[in-house]
Symmetry: C2
Subunit: 143 residues, 2 copies
């Protein structure tokens, strides 16, 4: 797959060309906040992504340098995904989407402390998210 | 058209359910920054949205309370779109997308002063955008 083509020289349109869809930022969320790493992990998310869409999103995110894929050294069939620097740099977009959603979604169940921290100081929260990713203590891990 | 259904109780997924596509935030950009108000205006943008997609996006944005439509009092066939409060509240998402795009898009031509102001102080810039919308002095108007 080739890198995504761009519709214009607008930086906003560029971002949307790459992650302007219903799933890309869900995958970024799953990796950064919930500690998901594999194809099977992403499939289990409550949004219920279809396998063919997941496969195509992962290829696109990898091609565009948002995620990178590694093979398990002990089992070559297993593949693990992580965010690149370019992917981690999407966290501010993700957090603004969270703040907007938390404000307007009556059925929102995203943790209040997390939403409040995003509103209060995004930089600190992003630092916490990054250190969670490094240490394996993901801020919104569920299991 | 009914309001968009939601895949989960996650605030991020909620946002993506509504504006997670290639065009919704382009329309928000056009209204907030470029002073576009009509169907014909949106069609002229350099990203070249197809008429059927534009029509469907406008209905969805209106149904979800992001934009509102008014008829021209002198010519009832003319319709003007504006952002609601809920739509204006998407500006932080838009600006973070701009910052990300400006960082990674080698062919980015979004004005440097605008990107720098978004990085430096989003709140001030959003205040400037809002007052631009009110006074008709749109920050990135082109004609």
């Amino acid at each position: 797959m080739k890198e995504t083509k761009h519709r214009s020289a607008c930086a906003i349109a560029f971002g949307l060309d790459i992650v302007g869809d219903k799933w890309s930022l869900i995958i970024v969320r799953d990796i950064a906040l919930r500690g998901k790493v594999s194809y099977g992990d992403f499939l289990k998310s409550e949004e219920k992504i279809a396998t063919n869409i997941l496969a195509s999103r992962l290829v696109s995110l990898e091609t565009n340098g948002i995620i990178s894929k590694k093979n398990d050294s002990s089992d070559k069939r297993k593949e693990y995904y992580s965010l690149t620097k370019k992917g981690i740099d999407l966290l501010p977009v993700l957090l603004e989407m969270l703040i907007w959603g938390a404000k307007y979604f009556s059925k929102n169940e995203s943790p209040k402390w997390f939403v409040n921290q995003a509103k209060k100081d995004k930089k600190i929260l992003i630092r916490q998210i990054k250190s969670g990713v490094k240490s394996g203590k993901y801020l919104l891990k569920r299991d």
